[in-house]
């Protein structure tokens, strides 16, 4: 999997999916515009299974869950950030989408690097130099939601 690294802090949901596309809500439609106001080339570069790595407070701003759907629709498997804004983080967990807090990683990995992600072990490995970055395991409730495929599956199974 390839890492698309954005060193910036405070990448907001308006940049991830601009409001002009909020008259749609299907992943495949939204995917075409993922990250458009931050990087118009992103949708051409991203391949299924890639990850985004970014700085602090990723996903701040609007509560639009379309941000998660646009990324997932574009093939993004996980977002790894120094920290996340709370509504975006919640939306990720509720969708069973991987959001991993790994402090400082955006400063060390070059964009385009091949990486390996071991969620159970809590390790991110930069395959270009073999360096390993540990991260804290997901909280139990988040792991449960991830395993069940999201909040609504969890509710209906209860």
């Amino acid at each position: 999997m390839k890492a698309h690294v954005y060193k910036r802090d405070h990448i907001n949901t308006d940049e991830i999916i601009p409001a002009r596309y909020l008259n749609m809500d299907k992943e495949a439609e939204l995917a075409k515009y993922a990250m458009e106001d931050l990087d118009t080339e992103f949708v051409n570069k991203v391949e299924a299974g890639d990850v985004i790595i970014a700085g602090e407070n990723f996903g701040c701003g609007s509560s639009r869950e379309h941000a998660v759907w646009a990324l997932r629709g574009a093939g993004v498997k996980a977002v790894i950030a120094d920290s996340f804004a709370r509504i975006f983080y919640r939306n990720c967990i509720n969708n069973g989408f991987l959001a991993i807090e790994c402090q400082g990683v955006s400063k060390h990995i070059a964009s385009g690097s091949e990486i390996e992600l071991n969620v159970k072990k809590g390790e991110l490995k930069d395959l270009t130099n073999g360096k390993v970055y540990p991260f804290a395991a997901l909280p139990d409730f988040a792991q449960e939601m991830l395993d069940k495929g999201g909040l609504l599956n969890l509710i209906t199974k209860k």
């Binding site: 802090d9 405070h10 907001n12 308006d14 940049e15 601009p18 409001a19 002009r20 909020l22 008259n23 749609m24 809500d25 458009e36 106001d37 931050l38 602090e56 407070n57 701040c60 701003g61 609007s62 509560s63 639009r64 869950e65 379309h66 998660v68 920290s83 804004a85 709370r86 509504i87 919640r90 939306n91 509720n94 969708n95 409730f141 999201g150 909040l151 609504l152 599956n153 509710i155 209906t156």
Partner: protein, 423 residues
């Protein structure tokens, strides 16, 4: 150990005597607010999961506002879907065009918010309603679907930062300037995951509408919620609006705050948040360069209420919007529109060369009714100045109070509202 008002509300709704920051609780919800953009996906999710009824139709309020009046075929289809679903679910409180408004202005105005309640809305600025002493937070569509189905949601109890606001506001300085200053100090993630509680002599002196301007922007510091304990002013505001029963809660004397921030606003000046983050604030008198603006926007859930329009109108009386500047005024709700009309404010705006249009979130989020082009600058009473927020990713948004925006509209460049204006 004492508790904060936020902890008390969450504890009561989780069936507990007390809760501590960091604990996960399942809280019962007293009210759920839905709007056009985030509700349609929630309806699809409910249907996909075979959930054919909502937990309590009387605790659900629907107020399409982002793309109303319908901006295109796709949004028209979205809102139609919500309308049909609401009928099917027996949800009667649906604010149709003609009674519509920006949700965070409409919800308290119509008496849906009472102190001590828990309320969620599928919109990040739902933190606004903490101004009436409620626990109120923004959620996404999956949370909305779960809330609609079960009437409860999981929350991590947030630690609270107390903002003790003292001093006396100078003329020309408003609630918007206070919150822009607070966000400038703590940053756009300065209260991430936390509750922001506001108190002190300045907060006491503010009207309920002005308090809403403050709690509205708690999310711009990353907060889960903003809250102000209810007082006599809250009771007066609720008197003719709400019949709900409530108890007024206060934080205990020995409540544990993560941090207490004392702010004396006596020397505070009108603030302008520069592109592209709300924490990029500067005092207006520190702005030495002449920043020419293409558009001035007065409206939104932050500053589109009647008091905001009254302040703005003072600047337009007998003056004109500068040549080369467009000015858009959007009363946040139908009732505000009617009141502004009755007071002659709409005439003042239009005589000055501004345009007044139907309540909508519209231009604030770059949806419709006032999009800006690449290379353009807009000074706005709204809450976010992110890249591309009001239109082209090559445009710029500056955030300020209605007074500063109106003064800037008259001059055609970002201006100090305390200085003499031209004709």
């Amino acid at each position: 150990m004492g508790q904060t008002i936020t902890e008390k509300i969450l504890a009561r709704h989780a069936g507990r005597d007390s809760v501590k920051p960091g604990e996960l609780v399942n809280a019962k919800l007293d009210l759920i607010m839905c709007h056009d953009v985030t509700t349609t996906p929630a309806i699809d999710m409910l249907k996909e999961h075979g959930i054919n009824k909502v937990f309590d139709p009387e605790k659900i309020v629907i107020m399409p506002d982002h793309f109303v009046p319908n901006k295109d075929i796709k949004s028209a289809e979205m809102i139609r879907k919500i309308r049909l679903w609401a009928d099917e679910m027996g949800i009667e409180t649906f604010y149709e065009l003609g009674n519509h408004g920006v949700c965070h202005a409409l919800l308290p105005e119509q008496g849906h918010v009472i102190p001590g309640m828990t309320l969620v809305g599928a919109d990040s600025h739902t933190c606004t309603h903490g101004a009436l002493g409620a626990f109120s937070t923004g959620i996404g569509s999956t949370d909305l679907a779960a809330a609609l189905a079960t009437g409860e949601l999981w929350f991590k109890v947030p630690p609270t930062i107390l903002f003790n606001v003292s001093g006396t506001l100078k003329d020309g300085v408003y609630a918007k300037d206070i919150i822009l200053e607070i966000i400038r100090r703590i940053g756009v993630d300065g209260a991430r995951y936390k509750a922001m509680e506001f108190k002190g002599e300045v907060i006491n002196a503010l009207s309920i509408e002005a308090r809403m301007t403050i709690t509205n922007m708690a999310i711009e510091a990353g907060a889960k919620s903003g809250i102000i304990a209810a007082d006599e002013k809250t009771l007066a505001y609720l008197k003719d609006r709400s019949e709900g029963e409530f108890e007024i809660l206060h934080s205990d004397e020995d409540a544990e705050y993560e941090q207490v921030i004392n702010i004396d606003v006596s020397d505070l000046e009108p603030m302008v948040a520069f592109p592209h983050l709300p924490d990029n604030g500067r005092s207006v008198s520190d702005i030495k360069e002449k920043i020419k603006i293409d558009q001035a926007y007065i409206g939104s859930c932050t500053n589109g209420r009647i008091e905001d329009l009254r302040v703005a109108a003072e600047y337009f009386k007998g003056r004109k919007v500068a040549k080369g500047t467009r000015c858009i005024v959007i009363p946040a709700t139908t009732d505000i529109w009617k009141q502004a009309n009755k007071e002659g404010l709409l005439d003042i705006f239009m005589e000055a060369g501004a345009t007044v249009s139907s309540p909508t979130c519209g231009a604030c989020l770059g949806g419709h009714m006032g999009i800006i082009a690449g290379g353009e600058k807009c000074i706005s009473t709204t809450n976010r100045n992110f890249v591309g927020r009001m239109g082209s990713p090559d445009s710029e948004v500056y955030l300020a109070s209605p007074a500063t925006v109106a003064a800037s509209a008259v001059n055609g460049y970002i201006s100090d509202p305390r200085k003499d204006l031209g004709e």
